[in-house]
Amino acid sequence: MSRRGRPITSPPRIVAIPAVIALLFLGLPIVGLLFRAPWSNLGAVLTSRTSLDALRLSLVTATAATMVAFVIGVPLAWMLARAQFPGRRLARALVTVPLVLPPVVGGIALLLAFGRRGIVGQYFESCCGVTLAFTAPGVVVAEAFVAMPFLIITVEGALRVLDARVEEAAATLGAGRLTIFRRVTLPLLAPALVAGGVLTFARALGEFGATITFAGNLPGVTQTLPLAVYVGLEGDPSEAVALSLILLAVSVGALVLLRDRWLRTGASA
């Protein structure tokens, strides 16, 4: 006899076994980290100028990269899922490239394209005096390049599963394509947008290889927290661990709040 009111769609008890293994697998390292955390260092790290700069920069650039991903990535996901155009398969393949390219190589590729001597970058420089490499916007570019595919793939997948019939109904009520997308499709996509956004933000926040290669590691300018952690590992790993814990606290807090809030309004679960 099952517990009263436990819906038939909830998992059977046996599923708890692999689930608990998964939790332990993900949780034990964190416990280890907290256990051996250099708590005494935390204060020093928290008041160090470099750490704070890095933390701030990380949050700002990861947010900006996520926004970039939304502004150009969601339209691309929409096209990939719903439009017929030549080269669609190629475009879809292209989206997976930054996922599998080792980030350091991704950084090199970015330099080759948008660097001062890159195939497009040289014109930026000569025509508008804009340089991306080794600047904070460059960090955003590196993070967006690496993280955007996460949003695109999540949203495209969700769009494909979405029941287009309610969107058709919206059209008969006089809503144009953009209105339908904004007022029907996006709200229905909310859970996928939140999940994709979380993955993108997280990936951007943790970005290391592409950033250090494309944007360098200039404290206060391009040194994000993962870079600071890397530099910090030199000599004293405990400082680096302390730094990561701060990053962890801030970002997990933010993500949990965000997801809980959005998922609640998005889905009816």
């Binding site: 001062r116 590992l233 000599g235």
Partner: protein, 235 residues
């Protein structure tokens, strides 16, 4: 942004960007502070990273004024690309065996590293500390099978510190910087290997005079004292 306001040619002012190998972080931070104190209004921005990565960035047009590498090979590649005319050697480093603060297996000399039960970490062979470790083993005629070839020296140090390996080949300066987190076992000078650190101003630097002044400062007694305090050898 660092280059927006440029001083008149020849004056020591404004800001410069220094690309330096990660292992120089501690010493260069101090030298930078001293240099800024000596030249009020000057700002030194450091970009620490793996030497080779820094070299790639420089050849791709990174806004940099000074490059300090951990190996002459890397510096030579930058010279070959024409970004640097000539470099000066400003420091040298030698190797040391690092063991965990609470070792499980006793290691007291280079020869012990050949033991089958001893887990050894070295740097990978393409970075200076890895090349040095291999030279060290061959010139002392010992056969060591490392369990890992770490990407850089600090990774070796981390492994030692956490007790994952029983010993690692690192720079003397690293043991010093670890401040007791690892135990260093010195290698007799006769058996040891030395690497050298070249430094150079970048040819296209927009603030060449200050760049040159910084290079000069590193090579000066004041600079050398800081390096020696950190465990570096004189070139």
């Amino acid at each position: 942004a660092a280059h927006s306001v440029q001083p008149a040619a020849g004056s020591i002012a404004g800001s410069i960007t220094v690309f330096a190998a990660s292992s120089l972080k501690g010493a260069f931070a101090t030298i930078g502070a001293q240099f800024e104190a000596a030249h009020p209004g000057v700002k030194v921005i450091f970009n620490f990273g793996p030497s080779s990565g820094l070299a790639t960035q420089i050849t791709q047009g990174a806004p940099v004024d000074v490059f300090a590498a951990a190996s002459t090979k890397t510096m030579d590649s930058v010279i070959a690309d024409g970004e640097v005319k000539a470099a000066s050697t400003f420091a040298a480093n030698s190797m040391e065996i690092a063991t965990p603060a609470h070792p499980t297996r006793s290691v007291t000399s280079l020869a012990d590293l050949a033991g089958a039960a001893i887990k050894v970490a070295i740097c990978q062979q393409d970075v200076p500390c890895g090349a040095a470790a291999l030279t060290l083993f061959s010139q002392n005629r010992i056969r060591v099978t490392p369990v890992t070839q770490e990407l850089d020296v600090k990774a070796v140090l981390t492994k030692v510190q956490l007790g994952e390996v029983d010993a690692g080949i690192v720079y003397v300066t690293d043991v010093k910087a670890a401040k007791g987190a690892v135990i260093g076992i010195q290698i007799p000078a006769a058996d040891n290997v030395t690497t050298t650190y070249p430094i150079a101003p970048i040819t296209n630097s927009t603030n060449g005079s200050t760049a040159q002044a910084f290079v000069d400062y590193v090579l000066s007694d004041a600079g050398q004292n800081v390096l020696r305090a950190a465990g570096f050898l004189s070139p």
